[in-house]
């Protein structure tokens, strides 16, 4: 009896509902009598991979693009545990809802992925969020990795958002009162991660980075639904640094200070016969990224010798995209294909243009257009378990092709997850 009450509560809490009160449901037995009755909804995601890669993931880099120092590398060779994700959420009161998502890394560290409060009905279509949360830039960035259709992030998300951009800040969103879905919103953040910088951004009052976004979406006929989005992320990196080696093989630290702006155009289209995805469904998803950076690049060998520390202007205009399709062709089984392409675009490096250094002193920035082909097949035992096989041919590195195979499990315990579009 007691156990039933607590479990019912956990599920009701996941719904954002208090346990159905006995007063309203005289027929319903089992009441919220104990202190535990207000426990939040808890869920835990377990995942792990077996990886087989033709190239050592320790040397992974994406050539032609400034390294983000985010967790962009593919999963390890052999067996490895993925991040275990603990989610705790509940309504705080009738004004606010709180959510904390803590990732326990295989290195035995705990990371706050998200910890935010959001308003429950400011009314007139407004919602506000404060705390740490995944930025609403693009489509995939807001979605947790366990709900992705592939084991890893698109290359574009890796180079432009450091895999996944989380921000300490606020988000305000407004949904239009129209039958065609339309929202517009902005985020003001600290500038916690790339592109602001890997070290938490500038120490300054005010806003470190900003993101504006808008979405429009609706239904087509009886079987199709769609959503398109546009976002503009603006950041001001200060001494955003990365390691490289110059033409003589000397380790150097390059750092960029200036302005970084990123446009992301995203689109999602879902099809299921009569919108009943149980037996068959198809999802087409793609995003296009375009980034401009403008500022100064400092080259530092860490030595007082010639060429020791030099600074020059740096501008770049780079882009990238991915397009993926996933088909569920029978209950429980899905197959998918993803195409990744990055375009190193145009880069102007003052230190090279002036003849002070050569392009060979910046090997990672040498123009290169990475591509990747990925296929996957997965089986879902229920809504709560999934086993996936993914094969990829990854040309992130200009000199080698990495053939990757991953076998992955993703399982969810506890409160029921949300069916996000």
């Amino acid at each position: 009896m007691y156990r039933k009450g607590v479990m019912a509560l956990a599920v009701s809490a996941a719904l954002g509902l208090p346990y159905p009160a006995a007063a309203q449901t005289p027929v319903q037995t089992g009441g919220p009598g104990s202190e535990n009755a207000f426990n939040p909804a808890i869920s835990l995601i377990l995942n792990g991979t077996y990886g087989n890669l033709s190239q050592d993931p320790a040397g992974y880099k994406i050539d032609g693009f400034v390294p983000t120092l985010g967790e962009v590398g593919p999963p390890k060779r052999g067996f490895s545990l993925g991040e275990s994700e603990l989610t705790i959420s509940a309504n705080v009161d009738h004004y606010f809802r709180g959510t904390a998502i803590i990732a326990l890394t295989p290195e035995n560290e705990a990371e706050i992925e998200e910890a935010y409060v959001q308003t429950l009905g400011l009314s007139h279509g407004f919602t506000a969020k404060a705390g740490r949360f995944f930025s609403g830039v693009g489509y995939l960035n807001e979605i947790h990795a366990h709900a992705w259709d592939f084991t890893d992030a698109p290359l574009a998300n890796k180079v432009f958002l450091g895999n996944q951009l989380g921000e300490d800040g606020i988000q305000i969103k407004w949904v239009a009162p129209t039958d065609l879905y339309f929202d517009i919103g902005f985020e003001a953040g600290r500038g916690l991660q790339f592109p602001s910088g890997p070290d938490g951004g500038r120490s300054k009052n005010g806003v470190g980075s900003g993101n504006l976004f808008a979405h429009v979406g609706g239904d087509i006929g009886a079987s199709t639904a769609w959503q398109a989005g546009l976002s503009y992320l603006s950041a001001s990196p200060l001494e955003r640094s990365y390691e490289d080696t110059d033409s003589t093989g000397t380790p150097v630290t390059n750092s960029f200070s200036g302005k970084s702006s990123l446009w992301v155009l995203s689109g999602v289209l879902k099809w299921a016969p009569n919108r009943n995805p149980t037996y068959a469904n198809f999802k087409l998803q793609g995003e296009f990224f375009r980034r401009r950076e403008n500022g100064d690049l400092t080259f530092d060998t860490g030595a007082a010798t010639a060429g020791g520390t030099q600074t020059g202007g740096y501008t770049s205009a780079q882009s990238g995209m991915y397009l993926q399709g996933v088909v569920q062709f029978m209950p429980q089984w899905r197959v998918g294909y993803r195409y990744d392409r990055l375009n190193a675009g145009t880069t102007s490096n003052g230190l090279v243009d002036s003849g002070a250094l050569t392009a060979a002193d910046f090997p990672i920035l040498a123009p290169y257009n990475p591509t990747r082909h990925t296929v996957m097949v997965d089986w879902s035992g229920s809504e709560f378990s999934r086993i996936r096989l993914q094969l990829a041919q990854d040309k992130s590195r200009s000199d080698v092709t990495d053939n990757q195979a991953f076998l992955q499990y993703i399982m969810s315990l506890g409160a029921h997850g949300a069916h996000k579009f």
Partner: protein, 301 residues
């Protein structure tokens, strides 16, 4: 609040929403509640149903068009009991609409007003997709419709007192017509009493319970999980020992598993509307029960 509305309206921001000020904007999670709202509110409401009879209500996604509709809703009518647990919470948090949040008068959960059956004694996901507060498919017991109608009529009066007389009159008329229909259905369904039936999902339980029919098996090995060859083979064996009279499935289910079992056992497979729009004759709540009973009677002679 009203001042804000005026300011926004004057800015043209909610111009599109202004027609909704005339009538109560109702968002029904399932077609049966949309139909009930139609009976009780008539032209005093504009009603949108989030799902159709061809969709499994467990598996809906919080897609943009649904968020947009909830954004403008004055009243949300859902089943509750975790049926919409995958999508309703997202609709609530994304809509930015305080009128329909939990605890607000615009939030109405039908299953709270009826006695739920099949409340599990043990809650564990190894038992399939079970619902802690009992079977949520409450609308297929016609007595439940009457109970929910009473509660919903009260709610409509509370939300739109200006039309209270109209709501009360419609509720009285519906109550009368439903009572008459119920006694007719009880007579017709007397022939169904004790009849063993194989179901697809546990979505017919309230109907079977009301009609006194007996569930002799389920095509799903566990609630929410697709039929497996091993489970179907077991059912074939079971049907040889104690044959059911009919195998039923809902409009949103694939007929394959039912037809497979029917082929091997010669027990007729029968599609039932499940909700409004599931069959041509299930145009409203009366048609839903008329057609469900008629189809069953035609197959259990």
């Amino acid at each position: 609040m009203r001042t804000t509305t005026k300011i926004l309206a004057s800015l043209g921001l909610i111009a599109v929403a202004s027609p909704t000020l005339a009538a109560l904007n109702i968002f029904a999670c399932e077609p049966e509640w949309g139909a009930l709202a139609q009976e009780l509110a008539g032209d005093k409401a504009s009603i949108y149903s989030a799902t159709t009879a061809l969709q499994d209500p467990h598996r809906i996604e919080a897609r943009p068009s649904l968020i947009a509709r909830v954004r403008s809703a004055d009243l949300l009518i859902c089943t509750g009991s975790e049926l919409e647990i995958g999508w309703l919470p997202l609709l609530l948090t994304q809509s930015g609409n305080s009128r329909i949040q939990l605890g607000a008068p615009g939030y109405f959960e039908a299953s709270r007003y009826v006695a739920r059956i099949e409340i599990p004694k043990t809650i564990d996901r190894s038992l399939g997709d079970i619902h802690a507060s009992g079977n949520p498919h409450v609308h297929l017991d016609p007595r439940n419709i009457a109970r929910v109608a009473d509660a919903l009529a009260e709610r409509l009066v509370q939300l739109d007192p200006a039309n209270a007389d109209a709501f009360k009159a419609r509720a009285n008329s519906f109550r009368e017509r439903w009572r008459a229909a119920l006694s007719r259905w009880e007579k017709e369904a007397a022939r169904l009493k004790g009849v063993p039936v194989v179901v697809y999902h546990k979505d017919m339980s309230y109907f079977l319970n009301w009609a006194g029919m007996r569930e002799a098996g389920s095509l799903e090995p566990k609630p929410g999980l697709p039929a497996t060859p091993a489970h179907l083979a077991e059912l074939v064996e079971k049907m040889k020992r104690e044959p059911a009279k009919v195998i039923v499935y809902s409009a949103y289910n694939s007929p394959k598993a039912a037809e497979f079992l029917s082929d091997r056992t010669k027990i007729p497979a029968l599609m039932l509307p499940f909700t409004i729009g599931g069959t041509d004759k299930a145009k409203d709540l009366f048609g839903l029960f008329d057609d469900t009973i008629a189809r069953l009677l035609a197959n259990v002679k």
